[in-house]
C-alpha cells in the first residue's frame, strides 16, 4: 500500500487494475474520460495483461467488453450517462445472457448538467435494465467499490454498473492504494461453446428473466448487509425536531449531509450505496420507529420511491419527504448550501434553525451587492479552425434560406454570437438525420449538417447512408481537426493511433464517403478563406448528398507558427474582425484592435477579413 493524491477517475482506473481487469473499452465523455486514460497510463505496471481501446462508440465498447467477458476475462466499459443510451441495446440483452468473467460498466452521471445534454440518472437505468448498480460518495469509496463490483459480477454472472457523479469523478483525495505487486492477476479460461447459454432466443429469455428476478431478490437481501449501505446514529433524536427523524442519502450528497450534522442534530442516517437492487431489509430497520424521513439525493428520487414502497409493503407509518414533496429540488446539482438549507427546514419544522457547516450566513459577503459581471460561457479557442469553417459557410450562404444542423463536440460552441451557426443540436451524430428531416418538409431550404471527425465515426456514418440512399438533398460538412478535442484529445479511427500506442492505417473519411456513393467530396483548408467560401457555394448548389471536409488540426495540439499583429496606422477601428469572428485574441483597445499575443496562433483568418489590410503576420515562430 502507498498513499497517492488521486482524481476519482484515476482511482477507479487503479481499482480496476488492482482487480485484475484485462480488457477495457470506452468512448470519451465528460465526466468519465479519465478512467480509461488512467488505465492506459498505468497498464505498464501490469505488463502484457491489459488491453485498452477507445472504441468507435459506446455500443462497440459494450460489445467488445461482453465478448471478452464471455471468454472469461475481467472487463470494463467506460462512458458517460448519455453514452449508456448508445450502448443500451447490447446491455439490455446482455443482462439476460450474463457474463462469465467479471464485467463492470463505469457510467459517469453529470448532475447540473455541467457538460451534458441530459440529467438522466443511471440508477434509474440500472433498475430498468435490472443490472446491479453501485453509487460511491467519495474517490476513496469508488476505488474500493470497483474492486467489489468485479466480485459481485463474477459471483452472480451479471454485468455491474459503477455510477459516480461529476464531484466524485473529478474530485481529488489523498488515499491509500495497492502497489502494482499487490494487484490481482486474473486468468481467463476461454470461451466455451454452449448455444443454450450464449445465443439469445425467446426460450432463453423466458427462463433468464425469471432467473434475474430471483437473483436480484436474493442480491437485495445480501446487500442489506453490505458496508456500502449503512445506518449511522441510532436515536433519530434531534434538539431541533420534536419527532423522530431520519435522513436517507447517497453519493456526494451524503458528504454534504454529514457536514451539516453536529452533536445536537443526530437524525438517523441511511446511506444507500447500492440503490439497485435496493437493500430493503436494512431500509426496514432504518425506518422502524421514525416519524419522518428526508431523502437527500441528486437527479431521480430513487431512494424516495424505494422507501415509499418499503413503507407500503411493510405497513410502516413513516412520512417520506424529498423531491416528491418539494423539500429537495427536483432537478439540478445539490450543493453544500442547498442541502444545508433543506435539512435546516426539515429539522426546523418544530424548532430553531439547525446550524449549517461552518457557515454563519451573517458572516458571508452578500452577493446581491456585486457589480455587473461579464458572462463567460465557453468559446471556441483563438485560432480554432472551426471558427473559419463556420464563417466560410456563413459568408457563402448569406441571404439564402438555410438551416445549419450542428452536433456534439467543440463545434457546438459555433452557436454563440457572433457566429450563430448552430440552429440545432440533439445528440451524437443526429445533425445529419435532422437536416434530412427538414429537407423533406422544406425542400427549398439549403440544409447543412456539421459533424466532427470523431462524431462522424461514432454515429455519423449511418445518417449519411440513410440520407444518400433515400435521396435527400443536403451538404455534409465534416469539421476534421484530427482528434476528439472537447474531451481532451483522444485518438479515433481517423487518427492512425490506438490507445495501445500502435501506429495503424487510419480510416479515411473521404474514402468512407466515396464508398457510400457520394460523388462530390471536397477537402479544403478552412483557413484559406476565399477558397473555402467558393467551395461551399459550388458544393451546396449541387443536388443530392455531397460533402466538404474542412481539414485543419486542433490548435491546442498544433504548435502556433505565427502571431498576427495590428498596424495601428491603418486600423480604422471598424471592429469588423471582432464583430464577425468573435476570436478571444482580438481585443478592442483605445478605439482600435489589439491582438493578445498569448492567445493568437497566427491562423490569419482576421487578416483575411480586415477591410483595410491592417492585420498581418507580425511574428513568425
Amino acid at each position: 500500500m502507498h498513499t497517492e493524491f488521486l482524481m476519482g477517475n484515476e482511482a477507479i482506473a487503479l481499482g480496476a487494475l488492482a482487480a485484475g481487469v484485462q480488457v477495457v473499452a470506452g468512448y470519451p465523455g465528460t465526466p468519465s474520460t479519465e478512467v480509461l486514460e488512467g488505465v492506459a497510463k498505468h497498464r505498464a505496471d501490469a505488463p502484457g495483461r491489459v488491453y485498452v481501446e477507445w472504441s468507435v462508440n459506446e455500443k462497440a465498447a459494450m460489445e467488445v467488453a461482453a465478448g471478452a467477458a464471455y471468454a472469461g476475462a475481467r472487463t470494463l466499459v467506460t462512458c458517460k450517462q448519455v453514452g449508456l443510451n448508445v450502448a443500451s441495446d447490447p446491455l439490455m440483452s446482455l443482462e439476460y445472457i450474463g457474463v462469465k468473467g467479471g464485467m463492470v460498466i463505469l457510467v459517469a452521471d453529470d448532475p447540473g448538467p455541467i457538460s451534458s445534454q441530459t440529467e438522466q440518472d443511471t440508477r434509474t437505468f440500472a433498475g430498468f435494465s435490472k443490472v446491479p448498480v453501485l453509487d460511491p460518495s467519495t474517490p476513496n469509496e469508488a476505488y474500493a467499490m470497483i474492486q467489489d463490483a468485479f466480485e459481485i459480477s463474477e459471483q452472480y454472472g451479471t454485468p455491474v454498473i459503477l455510477r459516480p457523479t461529476t464531484r466524485v469523478d473529478h474530485g481529488y483525495e489523498s488515499m491509500e492504494v495497492l502497489d502494482p505487486e499487490e494487484w490481482r492477476v486474473h486468468a481467463a479460461d476461454g470461451f466455451v461453446k454452449d448455444p443454450l447459454r450464449w445465443v439469445i432466443f425467446p426460450r432463453l429469455s423466458v427462463a433468464a428473466h425469471a432467473c434475474i428476478e430471483e437473483r436480484n431478490a436474493g442480491l437485495a437481501d445480501e446487500l442489506s448487509d453490505s458496508p456500502y449501505n449503512f445506518v449511522a446514529t441510532e436515536t433519530g433524536e434531534c434538539a431541533t425536531a420534536k419527532r423522530r427523524v431520519g435522513i436517507a442519502t447517497q453519493g456526494i450528497s451524503y458528504t454534504y449531509v454529514r457536514d451539516c450534522l453536529d452533536a445536537e442534530n443526530r437524525p438517523r442516517l441511511l446511506r444507500v450505496g447500492t440503490p439497485y437492487p435496493f437493500p430493503e431489509r436494512q431500509a426496514v430497520e432504518f425506518l422502524r420507529g421514525l416519524d419522518e424521513v428526508l431523502c437527500v439525493e441528486e437527479l431521480d428520487p430513487v431512494i424516495e420511491h424505494a422507501l415509499i414502497e418499503v413503507c407500503g409493503k411493510h405497513s410502516l407509518d413513516v412520512r417520506i419527504r424529498g423531491k416528491l414533496t418539494g423539500d429537495i429540488a427536483p432537478s439540478g446539482e445539490n450543493t453544500p448550501d442547498t442541502v444545508a438549507d433543506a435539512i435546516s427546514r426539515f429539522l426546523q419544522a418544530h424548532g430553531p434553525a439547525a446550524s449549517a457547516e461552518q457557515s454563519d450566513p451573517k458572516g458571508t459577503i452578500p452577493e446581491e451587492a456585486s457589480p455587473q459581471l461579464p458572462v463567460r460561457p465557453p468559446v471556441l479557442c483563438a485560432g480554432c479552425p472551426h471558427r473559419a469553417s463556420f464563417y466560410a459557410v456563413k459568408r457563402a450562404m448569406r441571404g439564402r434560406k438555410t438551416i445549419f444542423c450542428g452536433d456534439i463536440g467543440c463545434y457546438t460552441l459555433g452557436n454563440a454570437a457572433p457566429l450563430d451557426m448552430v440552429d440545432t443540436c440533439l445528440c451524437m451524430g443526429a445533425g445529419i438525420g435532422i437536416a434530412q428531416g427538414v429537407f423533406h418538409v422544406e425542400p427549398d431550404t439549403t440544409c447543412f449538417a456539421f459533424v466532427g471527425d470523431s462524431t462522424f465515426f461514432a454515429s455519423g456514418i449511418t445518417g449519411v447512408i440513410n440520407a444518400y440512399y433515400n435521396q435527400a438533398n443536403l451538404t455534409l460538412v465534416v469539421l476534421d481537426n484530427s482528434t476528439t478535442a472537447m474531451t481532451g484529445h483522444q485518438p479515433h479511427p481517423g487518427t492512425g493511433r490506438t490507445m495501445m500506442g500502435e501506429m495503424v492505417q487510419a480510416v479515411s473519411i473521404e474514402g468512407v464517403l466515396r464508398g457510400i456513393g457520394l460523388t462530390t467530396v471536397e477537402t479544403v483548408n478552412p483557413l484559406e478563406h476565399e477558397l473555402a467560401v467558393q467551395t461551399v457555394r459550388r458544393v451546396a448548389s449541387e443536388p443530392g448528398v455531397k460533402a466538404i471536409i474542412f481539414k485543419s488540426p486542433c490548435v491546442v495540439l498544433a504548435r502556433p507558427h505565427a502571431r498576427s499583429a495590428v498596424d495601428h496606422t491603418t486600423c480604422v477601428g471598424c471592429l469588423r474582425c471582432v464583430r464577425e469572428l468573435g476570436c478571444p485574441a482580438l481585443v478592442p483597445a483605445d478605439g482600435k484592435v489589439r491582438i493578445d499575443p498569448s492567445l493568437c496562433t497566427g491562423c490569419t483568418l482576421c487578416e483575411q477579413v480586415c477591410p483595410t489590410g491592417a492585420i498581418s503576420g507580425g511574428e513568425r515562430l
Binding site: H170, I252, D259, T364, L373, P374, R376, L575
Partner: protein, 193 residues
C-alpha cells in the same frame, strides 16, 4: 483558519490560466505536511475560456470536497471578475489574493454585459479587508516568463498567511510536481514580490 476545521481555499479564474496546476501544488505541499486533502475541479466544457474554480480543503474536518458559502479562508483569483464571482464563499475576515489583470470575454465585445474593471476592483477593495493585489503584467515582464502567474499568486498567498503553508512548503511541492528544468523559473516566481 483553525487547526480543527482545516483550511478552505478557492482558486478561480478563466479556463487555461493554470488553476488546476496551482491547486495540485497546494495539495502536494499539504500532503508533504501530513495533511489529508480534498479538491473539486472544473474540467470539461468550461475549460474553453469559461469561468473555472477549484475548491481545495486541507485537513480532516469535512466530508465534502465542496465548501459552503461563507467558509473559504482564502480565495486565490487569477482574474478580478472571477474573484467577485466567488466572493460569497469567503468567510468574514478571509483573505483574497487577486491578479488585477482582466481577461475580457468575447461576450463583452459582442453585445453581452460589459467589463467594468474599475467597478470590479472597487468592489473587492471595499468588501475585502485582507486583499492582496498582484500586478500580473509586471510580474510577467520582470520574470520574463508568461506562464508564471499561478506560482506568483501561490507565493503571495503563502506570504499573506491565509494558506497555512509556507513558501518553503510550496518549493518542496514544485520539486515534486514539476520537471527539474522548470524549478529555477518557478522558484523565482514563488518568491516574487
Amino acid at each position: 483558519m483553525s487547526a480543527n476545521k482545516g483550511t478552505n481555499v478557492i482558486l478561480c479564474g478563466v479556463g487555461g490560466q493554470g488553476t488546476i496546476l496551482a491547486s495540485k501544488l497546494i495539495a502536494t505541499a499539504a500532503m508533504e505536511r501530513g495533511l489529508a486533502v480534498k479538491t473539486a475541479e472544473t474540467i470539461g466544457m468550461a475549460q474553453r475560456g469559461g469561468s473555472v474554480f477549484s475548491h481545495v480543503r486541507l485537513g480532516q474536518a469535512s466530508a465534502s470536497p465542496l465548501m459552503a458559502r461563507g467558509s473559504a479562508d482564502l480565495i486565490i483569483a487569477f482574474e478580478p471578475a472571477e474573484a467577485v464571482r466567488q466572493l460569497s464563499f469567503l468567510r468574514r475576515g478571509g483573505c483574497v489574493v487577486v491578479s488585477t489583470r482582466p481577461v475580457v470575454p468575447v461576450s463583452a465585445m459582442t453585445g453581452g454585459p460589459a467589463y467594468d474593471l474599475d467597478a470590479i476592483l472597487g468592489h473587492l477593495r471595499a468588501r475585502v479587508d485582507n486583499l492582496v493585489e498582484v500586478d500580473a503584467d509586471r510580474a510577467t515582464e520582470d520574470l520574463g516568463f508568461a506562464k508564471c502567474l499561478n506560482v506568483v499568486l501561490l507565493g503571495a498567498a503563502a506570504r499573506a498567511g491565509g494558506l497555512g503553508l509556507s513558501v518553503e512548503d510550496l518549493r518542496t511541492a514544485i520539486h515534486k510536481r514539476l520537471p527539474q528544468k522548470l524549478w529555477e523559473l518557478n522558484e523565482r516566481a514563488l518568491t516574487y514580490a
